[in-house]
Symmetry: C2
Subunit: 418 residues, 2 copies
């Protein structure tokens, strides 16, 4: 140990973890730096926010994933800078770390597009902590209104969602189901039928990148669950109990979920390279221009699809495949292999709208809707999440919860209270 | 609904929940008030603190336990006062609540005995939030020392426990196992063999109420796990990284677990009755003097054992039986039955010292130590915790974790960080 090339991976999301796993048997020393001690399975955050799953069912400790590696270190720390010239990374509370290869997989942060009050009062849904905060807010809000029903007139039972992409659609559907299922048994004295869920999308349709038939289906499926879908309606300001629309209308609501957009981790602006839409442009092999030893993958990078000349979408599947490509490339370089361009294999995209309804867009133009799409979604996630005994145990419980409408135990452990 | 007698239960610990369950079929309206939305299974808090179990494996939502009741309400709120004359309870953020029958089961709070700095820096272990805080502190501390090994000289790997009762003995043993098992795989760069666990007991022995043979066994078993047991050593002050002993000695340690004592919930001092050792004295049927409609049970009450004239210990089993007695008494009164005195049936007490070692003191003078006592402990807790499908599922995973040395997933979801 000590003489092997040192691979430093920044970020343990889909891209960083995939790169890490591809380096398991490589003759390298791997250092992973991440601000949390776990990887969150982000596509299921809305299930944690609505308490179908508990946080530790979709959070996987990074250190445990590194057990099989030859020489490794993990640092739970915030990255504060990257010096491409010195080949060094600076990290909060540590000496600078030198690398031979660097994988930038720092992901994204929420983009509020300057919406007034959104950073303070809206509930984003990009991290596991976000999901826990939203769940706690909703459950504590129900306790409060149960004690003081007058809060209903102030909007305590009105839940707003901004953004008609997959995040917005999935959380709106899941919240409708949360309010419709066991909560009625849990709050017999609360008029939960007065609860309203509003979904605001500034553009003309839901699920923009999907085919028109799927978009219409998604809208109908949400409306069947009681969600009020507002297209072409923008949100301009947020207070703790008010939402202001572009039309000037003011909505009384204690909860606003922000599913409206992301931007690349702002740390990459310190790289001293020209960014594209705030993201890191990469060569076809995902390395950086003039820096063949540095790679970027996942939401932080912008990868142009050669066939369409359009950027690949910011999806978990793109991040995972890009991370695998980077890990394989570094391992290959050490065995004297050459670099090959990254090819994204589109295996389809999907979104669920509550239990039993989903839309799926498959390669070669096929589409699916309804219960069949939903079962497909369930299977795909079972496969994606599995790969260890631990994960399969989680999944068994999780599939069971979903199929039986049994939720995880709704408890809020408030560690701030002594 | 509305004409039934109104039973108000303050607190959803062992006593409050037991009383509640006994009233399920009774012709009453039940209102339960508790500061959390869950009941915590307190005897296993040390397992959450050392990450063998996750918080929602030993926290059970009170609302779900009330589903079978005829007419009920639950308020997640702090009780601010009890007016025995007006037969009213005052609650944070609500109108005063009138009762026909009142069950005071408000439990205890930690007693620091005026030890300087303890309230700010020591880690108690009486609530589920306490256990989560301790776990987070330990795991974040390991991450910090892994980044900065110089912290070892400052005491970052020295863990102190105050109090040689069951809480102190069980957490010291569990911490020794945590450091000795998978953590070594998770922190390959950390000299975990330098970690020290110190147990301080001001009195002359561990597990004071147990028989001498069991006390000696517990001390040997802890020492076999590497715990340094200090008898007759008091702690007089605590800082965030220092522990000051009565002898004047100063110990560098970043963690001090407080297992040294409890006092009854201070709210009972507002009752206007003469307390005994800060606790509520009760009639043989557990009702209050001059207030046959008010009962007290659990850690908040002091119950004198008629045979020995000594107070019953502050144990979960005493609280549970007392709560059942109160619930049965109220149900019986409504059917015209009389009051009978409470009789505690001692089914034994036990404490574990790591995996595979325990002490048990059974009725009729029998004692057990070693693996047999430990298996007995496991069985007793399986039985105590079960009673619903949800609980048995938990238990299956939990027994599995304990038997296979597989821990729950060590992740810290820090919701305070955006």
């Amino acid at each position: 140990m000590g003489n092997e090339p040192h691979v430093v991976i920044l970020g343990a999301g889909f891209a960083g973890v995939a790169a890490m796993k591809m380096l398991r048997k490589a003759p390298v020393r791997v250092t992973v730096i991440n601000k949390n001690d776990y990887q969150a399975f982000q596509p299921l955050l809305y299930q944690v926010a609505t308490d179908v799953l508990s946080a530790n069912e979709i959070g996987f400790p990074v250190r445990q994933m590194l057990h099989g590696h030859r020489a490794w270190a993990f640092h739970q720390a915030a990255v504060t800078g990257i010096d491409l010239g010195k080949r060094q990374v600076t990290v909060e509370g540590m000496e600078p770390i030198s690398y031979d290869y660097l994988v930038i997989a720092l992901g994204a942060v929420v983009n509020y597009f300057g919406t007034k009050g959104a950073a303070e009062h809206a509930f984003p849904l990009y991290t596991l902590a976000d999901a826990e905060r939203l769940k706690t807010h909703v459950l504590e809000g129900l306790e409060a209104v149960d004690k003081n029903p007058a809060l209903i007139d102030d909007g305590a039972l009105r839940f707003c969602v901004v953004g008609g992409g997959p995040t917005g659609v999935e959380i709106a559907g899941a919240m409708a189901e949360l309010l419709d299922t066991e909560l009625k048994q849990d709050y017999p004295n609360l008029p939960l039928d007065k609860a309203e869920i509003h979904l605001y999308e500034a553009g003309p349709q839901l699920l923009g990148p999907f085919k028109p038939g799927l978009r219409d289906y998604a809208k109908r499926a949400l409306e069947n669950l009681g969600v009020r879908v507002h297209l072409g309606v923008g949100v301009v300001a947020v207070e703790s109990n008010r939402v202001h629309l572009k039309s000037g209308e003011m909505i009384k609501a204690h909860t606003l979920v922000w599913g409206a957009g992301l931007q690349a981790n702002p740390l990459v602006s310190s790289l001293g390279i020209d960014l594209v839409k705030g993201r890191v442009p990469v060569n076809p092999d995902l390395s950086l221009k003039d820096h063949p030893e540095v790679f970027a993958a996942g939401d932080v990078a912008i990868v142009t699809e050669p066939k369409t000349s359009r950027p690949l979408p910011q999806l978990g599947s793109v991040a995972k495949q890009a991370g695998e490509h980077v890990g394989r490339t570094i391992a290959g370089l050490l065995r004297g292999k050459g670099r090959i361009p990254f090819r994204y294999r589109d295996r389809g995209t999907m979104a669920t709208i509550g239990r039993g309804a989903a839309v799926a867009e498959l390669p070669a133009g096929f589409t699916l809707t309804g219960p069949i799409a939903w079962m497909g979604w369930l299977l795909v996630h079972l496969v994606l999440l599995s790969g260890s005994i631990e994960r399969s145990l989680t999944l068994r419980d999780w599939a069971w919860n979903i199929l039986t409408r049994r939720r995880s135990k709704r408890i809020v452990v408030d560690v701030s209270r002594r």
